[in-house]
């Protein structure tokens, strides 16, 4: 039987000769040996004098270096030490990451006054039954990276008037001037508009109400860059609350998503991911699993995790909603395409069988579609279980029509004062150009944004906001849940909390801390009964970072939702779609453009395309053939095409993406910033102008796109086939049915290898007490990348920039490999066949596999190191001693997992010799690096060495954390407990896919996982004896499509 083939990119699937040649090379590019020989420099006879001269120079340089004085270092203690501070010991503060609509309760690790790491919050205030519990215990890549934004030198350093610094001594005057101008405008009946993003903070909402009262004639416009207003509007119409419901994927046994990327970018993805996997984890005790159907136009992170997936055009997502509605009612449904139709009827049957335990979600921003989806959920009795309107969501309050009204007013000169707070419409509104033209004409413009962004540069006054790690704030993402943000560092620059500027303007004395405390005392304290004194309540809230108040909102539950009007509107709109369709999406890392200046997120490979530092036009392989555009992976460049929609023509590189609908193209929003900061400027193309407005809400898809070749090429940094396994068998998967019948299926494969394992020339490593090990559940891993960013933050892993990534020089210790395969109905294909003829690239399946150092007991890297810089510890760690490494790179060449990273250049600027400074190296874009100035370096973890040029590095299993855990146990004189030592990737993971612990400890979680029926070792046949076991992926498909486990082992 033929084996199922897994591949990372089309070039790997088709075994493109150029790609193979490139893959097989030791180095991504030829070493410049030929160049040197060719230059003749080596051919010239070397005279004895030259030799002596060089010798002399060398000796004197060495002598000079040796006679250098050791620099005097100072140890500067506090004058008066705060009681809780112990130098060298981390302090942990509960806080909440809030940035726009992103929120995540976190713990902030503070070392010697510097916040250096974000960890998920664990609080006693949220019970195991709490409906909000899945918000806790996991983080997103964005939350992980937020600590780097704090130290961003391109944050504003002081307030400005017309771009000029307001000096400290003048600030009071400037404030007075601003205040009186505003009062004058208000007094003469002028129009004052406060434009903000969604305000999650209840105290700030109260403050804004105070502000509006203080300035009669002012109003508040909530503007979200990426709008989900239709969802809120649909619920307002039928339930009476302008809000999205609280979703509870953990209750759902059948999930149908119509273009909603709820695991990646939709509403509260980290929380949803945590909910979602509750029903996805299988074990011998629990052989139940939810079934997830996804209907979408381009392959999203959510689609990649779905059990069943069908592609359709973006305009057909609405039709799919109608079809599902009608199928559930037993009516004839409109047809979309064969696969989608079949899947829709299967989904409908499944939904019917799981009333009250199912969930249908849609990513559409069309109110009609959202009404139909709400009707479906209501019909299925899901409201109250998988959707909670009584615990509705408070994020995404933005509404689209008022923003259009504001723009009209701005253009007609009807607005006299304009204040921005957390809103950047010049960049992210489709008519940003018109905003840019109108803003300078407004009499008074004030920006409270935390960046000097596209909108702020056009404003007269700028009072920059703090970073969230410098501020007091609160956050209420759901009805009944209050989170606390507390400052963990003194403000780095002369910024001020935006709320305090507003307080100054409306004449409220004191700081925002006391305002917030007053608000909590009056509004939140009375809602609870655990505390009788406010001080005790407040102290507890600050310590725990979260307060849950058990109240439910009063909402009216409709009997039924009449969708006749909505259906007609939807069907009519779908009819109008013509030609190629365009789909605009957000990236899991960089989002709507807010994080454009965060190099950790910009260098985090997109979970699906694995491209960094760019946005691009995703097209299907079939369309690429039609358009005759190419993408050359070996050379890492692709064709530039010019894309026209309406009046806007933009030039974008193409990226050929399997899993995409054949006549749909997709581009990520959030790129092409011009005032993001040093590393985010001019990266990619701004496609916000392609967002359309349908009279009610902004739409993120459109039809009638015209694409033409430009004949030019664009260099893309594509990491998908870097560190290729060269077709070796590294993935195992099964289906739920097979798993139920035989959980051990595939076990034989390991048994027969045990004989081989015994045959080794090398002595066994003694393991006196501990064998650190890890397990990674491929069924839980959704590929979000939080672990990768967490690893980068914990281990001082440098950012290298786009040019270096193109040379396969990225430094990430942990990468997430994304593999495609074809489902069985198309049969198994071998390399001899012409794929384009027989397979449908739209129907690819995806598996994510986090790949990091496997800490092999029989490590191939250890044996080849000539200087013993990498060797084995008595705890099973494959140790790397950086200062012993001489950079032969033999270890990297011998590592079958390709997880070793070499410092080709001085990415960390650790080298003190000025001629080695990175800005002198043409291929290094210093703006991309994050460790080259004293402020940004404050983010470094002081417990981990910063590696310099010429040194190999790799995952250490967070050895600093292991040492700390052991020390803690020793100091307390107790045995090490399971869960004491947790790696950075493990703690960051929102789905608990990664487990870590001692394999020699009886009953440890990781030992259990290693003995699980699903456990397998990657490339076990090489007898490397890895310390990481992967748990096979299980798909809950209705089709039988796996044969990998039945097939003979490839190397058997």
């Amino acid at each position: 039987m033929k084996e199922k083939k897994y591949w990372k990119g089309l070039e790997e699937l088709k075994e493109d000769p150029d790609f193979i040649a490139q893959r097989d090379r030791e180095f991504a590019e030829e070493l410049p040996v030929e160049e040197l020989w060719g230059s003749g420099a080596w051919k010239q006879p070397q005279s004895r004098r030259d030799f002596l001269r060089l010798m002399g120079f060398g000796v004197s340089a060495a002598a000079m270096a040796a006679s250098c004085r050791i620099p005097v270092k100072h140890a500067i203690p506090y004058v008066i030490k705060p009681e809780e501070v112990i130098p060298g010991k981390a302090l942990w503060y509960a806080s909440t990451f809030v940035d726009g609509n992103d929120f995540c309760p976190v713990l902030v690790k503070v070392r010697d006054g510097r916040p250096i790491k974000i960890e998920p919050s664990t609080t006693a205030n949220i019970s195991a039954q709490s409906p909000y519990r899945f918000l806790f215990g996991g983080t997103s890549a964005r939350a992980q990276a937020s600590v780097l934004s704090l130290y961003d030198l391109t944050r504003p350093h002081f307030p400005t008037v017309q771009g000029n610094e307001v000096r400290k001594e003048n600030q009071a005057d400037v404030e007075q001037e601003l205040k009186s101008k505003l009062q004058q405008i208000s007094a003469r009946g002028g129009n004052i508009v406060l434009v903000t993003g969604t305000i999650l903070s209840p105290s700030t909402q109260a403050l804004i109400r105070d502000f509006l009262k203080a300035f009669p004639g002012s109003r508040h416009v909530i503007y979200d860059a990426v709008s989900h207003a239709a969802l809120a509007a649909a619920h307002e119409k039928w339930f009476g609350v302008y809000a999205a419901p609280g979703y509870h994927f953990e209750q759902a046994e059948v999930i149908v998503s119509l273009g909603s990327d709820f695991l990646g970018t939709w509403l509260s993805p980290t929380e949803f991911a945590r909910q979602y996997v509750q029903n996805r984890k299988v074990s011998p005790e629990r052989t139940q699993m939810s079934r997830h159907y996804q209907f979408e136009a381009c392959l999203s992170l959510t689609g990649a995790n779905a059990d069943e997936r069908a592609v359709l055009k973006p305009s057909q997502e609405a039709v799919a909603a109608v079809a599902l509605y009608r199928l559930l009612r037993g009516e004839p449904a409109p047809s979309i395409n064969a696969r989608a139709d079949a899947l829709l009827s299967r989904a409908a049957a499944d939904l019917k069988a799981h009333r009250g335990r199912s969930l249908v979600v849609s990513g559409s921003n069309d109110q009609a579609v959202q009404e139909i989806v709400a009707a479906i959920n209501l019909m299925l009795g899901n409201y109250g279980s998988t959707l909670r309107m009584d615990l509705y969501m408070r994020a995404h309050q933005g509404n689209d029509a008022p923003v259009e009204t504001l723009l009209r007013e701005l253009k007609s000169g009807a607005v006299h004062a304009l204040i921005f707070y957390g809103a950047n419409p010049v960049y992210d509104h489709p008519r940003g150009v018109e905003f840019a033209e109108a803003i300078p004409k407004v009499e008074l413009t004030l920006s409270l944004n935390d960046r000097i962004d596209e909108t702020t540069v056009l404003c007269t006054y700028h009072f920059p906001d703090h970073h969230y790690l410098e501020s007091w704030n609160d956050c209420s993402p759901y009805h009944g849940l209050y989170l606390m943000t507390q400052p963990v560092i003194w403000p780095l620059f002369r910024t001020r909390q935006a709320q305090e500027t507003l307080m100054m303007l409306c004449g409220i004395n004191g700081d925002f801390y006391s305002y917030m405390q007053r608000y909590w005392e009056q509004n939140i304290f009375p809602l609870q009964s655990s505390f009788t004194s406010f001080q005790a309540f407040w102290d507890n809230a600050v310590k725990e970072g979260a307060v849950e108040v058990r109240t439910t909102a009063a909402v009216r539950m409709p009997e039924a939702i009449d969708v006749s009007g909505a259906t007609e509107a939807v069907m009519a709109a779908a009819q109008q779609a013509n030609g190629f369709e365009l789909y605009l999406y957000e990236k899991v890392g960089s989002g709507n453009g807010r994080y454009a200046n965060n190099p950790w997120l910009m260098e985090l490979p997109d979970p699906i395309s694995k491209v960094v530092w760019d946005n691009y036009l995703c097209i299907s392989p079939k369309l690429a053939k039609e358009l005759q555009v190419e993408m050359d992976v070996a050379e890492q460049r692709s064709d530039l095409v010019s894309v026209t929609l309406g009046e806007t023509t933009l030039t974008l590189p193409v990226f050929i993406q399997p899993g995409q609908e054949d006549h749909t193209v997709a581009v990520a929003l959030g790129y092409g910033r011009t005032h993001a900061g040093r590393s985010g400027n001019n990266v990619g193309v701004n496609v916000y102008p392609w967002v359309t407005f349908n009279g009610q809400h902004r739409q993120y898809h459109a039809s009638g796109v015209v694409i033409s070749k430009t004949g030019k090429k664009h260099e893309l940094a594509m990491t998908q086939t870097h560190f290729s396994f060269e077709g070796r068998d590294v993935i195992q998967e099964t289906t739920l049915n097979r798993y139920r019948n035989n959980p051990h299926a595939g076990k034989e494969k390991k048994e027969h290898l045990k004989e081989i394992w015994a045959q080794t020339l090398y002595p066994e490593h003694p393991l006196p007490a501990i064998r650190w090990g890890m397990s990674i559940d491929l069924n839980s891993c959704i590929g979000c990348g939080a672990c990768a960013v967490s690893c980068q933050a914990e281990n001082n892993v440098p950012v290298v920039g786009k040019t270096e990534v193109r040379r396969i020089h990225e430094m990430t210790w942990l990468r997430i490999d994304r593999y495609y395969s074809f489902p069985s109905e198309k049969g198994f294909v071998t390399k001899e066949e012409d794929y384009d003829e027989i397979v449908d690239y739209q129907q690819v399946q995806v598996v994510f596999q986090p790949m990091l150092c496997q800490h092999c007991d029989n490590a191939p890297c250890e044996n080849v190191c000539p200087v013993n810089a990498t060797n084995h510890s008595s705890e099973g760690l494959n140790q790397m001693a950086y200062n012993r490494c001489i950079g032969t790179r033999y270890c990297a060449n011998n590592c079958p997992y390709k997880v070793r990273r070499f410092n080709w250049l001085d990415y960390t600027t650790a080298d003190v010799f000025p001629w080695n400074e990175p800005w002198k190296i043409p291929t290094l874009n210093i703006e991309d690096l994050q460790m080259h100035d004293a402020v940004t370096r404050m983010v470094l973890n002081p417990d981990v060495t910063v590696r310099t040029r010429g040194v190999m590095e790799k995952c250490s299993f967070c050895v600093q954390r292991l040492q700390e855990a052991k020390l803690e146990a020793k100091m307390q004189g107790r045995p090490l407990r399971d869960g004491d030592a947790r790696t950075a990737c493990q703690t960051a993971c929102p789905t608990d896919a990664i487990q870590f612990g001692n394999l020699r400890e009886e009953g440890s979680r990781v030992k259990k996982d290693h003995e699980d029926a699903r456990a397998y070792y990657v490339l076990a046949e090489l007898n490397t004896q890895p310390g990481i076991a992967y748990l096979k992926k299980v798909r809950n498909t209705t089709e039988e499509n796996i044969s990998a486990e039945q097939a003979q082992p490839a190397h058997g």
Binding site: I76, P87, T945
Partner: protein
Amino acid sequence: MTLPARAEVSAEKGQKLFKQYCASCHGITNKMVGPALKGITQKRSEKWLIEWIRNNAALRAAGDKDAIAIWEEYGRNEMPAFLSLTDDDIRSILAYVEQDAPAAAAPTGGPGAAAPAREQPTMLLYVIIAVLLAIFLTLVRANMLLRRMTAEVTGEPMPEPVPWGQRLRSPKAIAFYSLVAVGLLGFTLADSAIRLGRSKNYTPEQPINFSHELHAGILKIDCRYCHSSAEKSKVAGIPTVNTCMNCHAAVQQGRTPEGTAEIQKIYAAYENNRPIQWVKIHNLPDHVYFSHAQHVTVGKIACQTCHGPVESMKKVYQYASLSMGWCLNCHRQTEVQFQDNAYYTMFTELHEKLKKDSTLKVTAQMTGGDECQRCHY
């Protein structure tokens, strides 16, 4: 006037009593809350002193002019009565006060003193080399003599002896010199390279001339009173100004005017809210992770093991080389708290061995203490 030495009177006893009862307000040579006491026995009679010390209030009440004058002079600060002190006790205190030096222990340390006792083996080495060289030369001489004698016997012609001057300038000799020179140079280079960055005996000037000899040696303040984080953290911690102020709020006078001037620096730092910039002596390279807590709290290693006799250092210097070899040597030899700490229960095989052989020493090395990633990560 010198006090007669009596059986019950001794300066030693006086020192104890002085510390116990007087030192918080009186210095010997310096004015504190009360006057400096040096020379007091010349100024006042022994009888008066005894009465004053035992109960000065009574003396004043009796109308003693001197007593009232002193009381006025020192701002009517009440000196407590010491009714429990016997006459001999008081005489002992006075005897101690009149001693010249304030009974400091003779300095035992100093940078030079820390030079290791390695000289002996080196000397022995030289002697052995000299003896071997002598034997070698004798043998060469004997060999030559024997050869000449055989030549005489057999009648073979003896080669013309080459003059020493010519021999020393022969190509062979030059090659030999070069070899020696290269060897020496190479050794020096390697040796200096290894020493690069090591700073044993480093004794920098500190912003405050703080004496560990006084604080740790004489006053016997526990190291961890000031370096409190040594028990909990990787760093031992330099005491913050408020730690100094715990004592120096009361102890305002040094034993010498210089000492008082040094103490003033603490107040300056405290009042101006400016931290004191101490010079760091023990510097480990950035790629070394060292935890004091591990060694002090878990390993129960005395501070002196690595830092040397700090209690006798007027000026602190780096006692140990802090080289990797020095670290490893200790890790190979030092026993861990294996039986006492429940953490080590998981070393089951070692416990089994220990059951069979109770003399077994479990060293840090046996629990992995000599591996790269214990210190380098």
